[in-house]
């Protein structure tokens, strides 16, 4: 496989995962903005969401007020925002077009059809009830692409590169969601959260599609400690840090097996996983939640760097 192909497959999957995450993040911010009582329509929740996605600085360059109209346009349709759903889908499709020979026809057709449908949308027409509908559609298209990939792709190096891309992106996203609101997750003396806390916790869980499954795991009301534990250390939660890191570690192990060598990227993935497996929430809180997440994000980035060095991305 060409190094460039490996790189394109890796980023193709990252872009799709990112498009899905952007839709989910915006959905949460949008919901919260509907229920929060702020004057003038501006919403701090929308701002928090953009901060988590590291796109708020970019947003401020072109917009004065963060309301539903300006933020939805920025996060969904804006060509100048490299993380907008539109930019992600276009980048994914361009990568796919470049690597059509490495994609199955089901993968290509699902992505191509999704892009054509999205490109035909007039952003101005997406108002009111159409907005949540579109967010749902973006998530669906990501699920559909993943389904096409899992159902049809050969389990070879191409599969490994694309899976690595997905899970690095997902881990990054979960870590950022946690970091955005880390202060409401810190253990405090008042164990029963007030209304504001509960609202914030709900937001975090929803952003990770975890607000319902939480109940199945903990059989308990929302608690800061549990929420942090759930999104970081619970192996059965498919967006938790430990789930992503384990998956990544296995994926890179399979890549080493395919190529018959031990890459530096495997060591980087192992270092990422070790952070989670050798810790529990007590130790993480003692270390500092924010500091821990910052370190996690850095180690996660290191996996991407070593992958591109080891496998000749260029």
């Amino acid at each position: 496989m060409l190094g460039r192909t490996a790189q394109n497959l890796f980023w193709l999957s990252r872009y799709i995962e990112r498009a899905e995450n952007m839709a989910r993040l915006f959905e949460v911010g949008y919901r919260m903005s509907l229920t929060s009582r702020r004057e003038g329509g501006a919403s701090e929740h929308l701002v928090s969401m953009m901060q988590a996605a590291e796109i708020y600085d970019e947003f401020q360059l072109a917009h004065e007020r963060a309301d539903v109209t300006s933020v939805s346009h920025f996060m969904l349709f804006d060509e100048k925002n490299p993380s907008s759903v539109r930019s992600c889908l276009l980048a994914a499709r361009t990568n796919a077009r470049t690597e059509r020979t490495a994609l199955t026809s089901d993968m290509w057709e699902s992505l191509n059809a999704a892009w054509l449908e999205f490109a035909a949308i007039n952003p101005k027409s997406v108002t009111g009830a159409k907005l949540p509908e579109l967010l749902q559609w973006v998530k669906q298209l990501s699920h559909q692409f993943r389904g096409a990939l899992l159902g049809t792709i050969l389990r070879d190096d191409g599969f490994a590169f694309s899976q690595a891309g997905s899970f690095i992106e997902r881990a990054d996203n979960t870590a950022r969601i946690l970091d955005m609101k880390y202060y409401v997750l810190l253990p405090r003396s008042n164990l029963i959260g007030g209304d504001v806390d509960i609202q914030q916790w709900t937001l975090i869980l929803r952003a990770a599609s975890a607000h319902r499954s939480y109940r199945h795991v903990y059989h308990d009301r929302y608690k800061a400690w549990n929420i942090a534990d759930y999104l970081m250390l619970r192996p059965e939660m498919p967006r938790s840090l430990i789930f992503c890191a384990r998956f990544l570690d296995q994926t890179l192990a399979s890549l080493d097996a395919i190529y018959g060598k031990t890459g530096e990227s495997r060591a980087a993935a192992a270092a990422l996983l070790a952070m989670l497996e050798s810790n529990d929430m007590d130790r993480i809180f003692a270390y500092g939640l924010h500091e821990f997440l910052t370190e996690f994000i850095a180690r996660n980035n290191r996996v991407t760097e070593t992958l591109s060095e080891t496998y000749n991305f260029y």
């Binding site: 361009t94 020979t101 190529y259 000749n312």
Partner: protein, 473 residues
């Protein structure tokens, strides 16, 4: 337009249906009024979903265009095809022999059968190829011969495309579309398959691998990249034959050998099906400003460590001025008469012929010797006075730069248009593979001029395509 109506592929002059089209005619009559319109819409949806598009130059994403597909097939009888394929095979053998000769001993020039000046001073002649021996002595491996028909038994070769002919992916996808749209027709008729093309392409490429190559040679398709108008075809063919699709940046030359940059490091490449024009393949040998090619590629080729398909310099044999000599070329190398005639062509450097041309310019077709894609040409009967005067001046100024042919009444084929089914002019491009043997895919690509009365079938000028059926006996 010409006074007599053009030969119609489906109907005789008295309105009766020609034999190969009887089943299609019955099927068309069975279709309820709206059916064809719905089918045309389905066809467009299929093509768009598959992404069978060509990029429009100078534009961004979202401007990929579909080449219009017409759902009424063009049908060729087994007997007609036998005749055509024999003539095509004769032609490609002779032209490959000619290429070998002009890049070696130049017997045909010494014998005075083709003017020396025409070859040696031609911009399509590639001096770098002199004395070089391509694997198996083959220069043009992948050929698309443009053929037009003017009567029941009158086929003419309009052009031999010996460089990097495109369009074969449309031949394959048009068939896929027809199989989805009208499967019942394939049950009623025995249509020769075209699906073997990718497999045959692979066999052809493998058969011309350098002797040093491993038993299963590594094949790459070299593309200029996603912004090239034929990118879809490049990736389609690479995918269909399981070859690596590469851009120039993915390949490099080291020690006279070509390697691709893989996740495991360099891997040697034996055969390159390049879809980049001669001038751009190697900035060290040809255009130094080319970013598309691979520096040192030509040296590796010269050293016999890689096969380029097609070989550089094949353009000398499909040059429009050389075209007029193809019957001579066939006789010289094969000792046979040409089975498929050329379109009669006037030579404007001859004073008598030029006088005739200038007097009758309103009835003739004038083509620039190095033009392509339907540009730089004058179709006399469809031209304005200003255009005719313009070309008259050009011919007088540079008679050697133009060839002139009578306006052929290209055959028509029923075509689905807004107003229903109506005849439109068509041509035919069969695809030929030359390796360990000559392989001709039955049928080829039928291009159709969708504008009423138009004779220009090029996709860049509003042409569409049709599936082409060769009936089996």
């Amino acid at each position: 337009m010409s006074a007599t109506p053009a030969f119609d592929e489906m109907r005789n002059a008295d309105g009766s249906v020609r034999e190969p089209y009887l089943v299609l005619d019955a099927w068309l009559k069975e279709q309820p009024p709206q059916a064809l319109g719905l089918m045309a819409a389905d066809a467009e949806a299929i093509f768009r979903r598959l992404g069978i598009t060509f990029a429009v130059y100078g534009s961004n994403e979202g401007t990929e265009k579909l080449i219009p597909f017409d759902l009424i097939p063009r049908i060729i009888s087994a007997m007609e095809w036998r005749k055509l394929s024999k003539g095509i095979e004769q032609r490609v053998r002779a032209l490959n022999a000619f290429l070998h000769d002009v890049y070696h001993r130049q017997e045909i020039l010494k014998a005075g059968r083709v003017p020396e000046k025409l070859i040696l001073q031609n911009s399509a002649f590639c001096p770098e190829m002199m004395g070089l021996d391509p694997a198996k002595g083959i220069y043009s491996h992948i050929i698309g011969v443009d053929i037009v028909r003017v009567g029941p038994d009158d086929f003419y070769v309009l052009e031999d495309n010996l460089r990097t002919p495109s369009g074969v992916s449309y031949m394959l996808e048009d068939r896929e579309a027809m199989l989805q749209l009208a499967p019942e027709l394939f049950q009623r008729l025995k249509v020769a398959p075209v699906e073997n093309y990718p497999e045959n392409l692979r066999r052809t490429l493998e058969s011309v691998a350098p002797n040093s190559a491993r038993s299963t040679p590594t094949i790459a398709v070299l593309t200029p990249g996603i912004y090239n108008s034929a990118y879809f075809e490049h990736s389609f063919l690479a995918d269909q034959m399981g070859a690596q699709l590469c851009e120039g940046q993915d390949l490099f030359v080291d020690g006279g050998k070509v390697f691709k940059r893989t996740t495991l490091g360099p891997e040697q490449v034996d055969v390159i099906y390049r879809r980049i024009e001669d001038d751009f393949i190697d900035p060290l040998t040809f255009r130094p400003d080319s970013m598309l090619g691979v520096p040192g590629l030509f040296d590796a080729y010269r050293a016999g460590n890689v096969t380029l398909v097609n070989a550089p310099g094949t353009g000398i044999a499909d040059d429009k001025a050389v075209y007029t000599y193809v019957p001579e070329i066939i006789e010289f190398y094969l000792g046979e008469k040409a089975l498929l005639p050329n379109v009669p062509t006037y030579n404007c450097t001859d004073p008598e012929q030029r006088a005739y041309v200038l007097e009758h310019i309103g009835e003739l077709v004038v083509k620039e010797v190095h033009g392509s894609g339907g540009y730089g040409m004058l179709v006399g009967p469809a031209s304005t006075k200003a255009q005719r005067e313009d070309f008259t001046r050009k011919i007088i100024a540079r008679p050697d730069n133009y060839i002139v042919q009578p306006t052929l009444a290209l055959s028509t084929c029923p075509t689905y248009v807004n107003a229903g089914i109506a005849p439109r002019h068509v041509d035919l491009r069969p695809y030929v593979l030359v390796g360990d043997q000559v392989r001709i895919t039955p049928g080829g690509l039928t291009r159709v001029a969708l504008t009423e009365g138009s004779l220009v079938v090029n996709s860049s000028q509003g042409g569409g395509t049709k599936d082409t059926w060769v009936l089996e006996e």
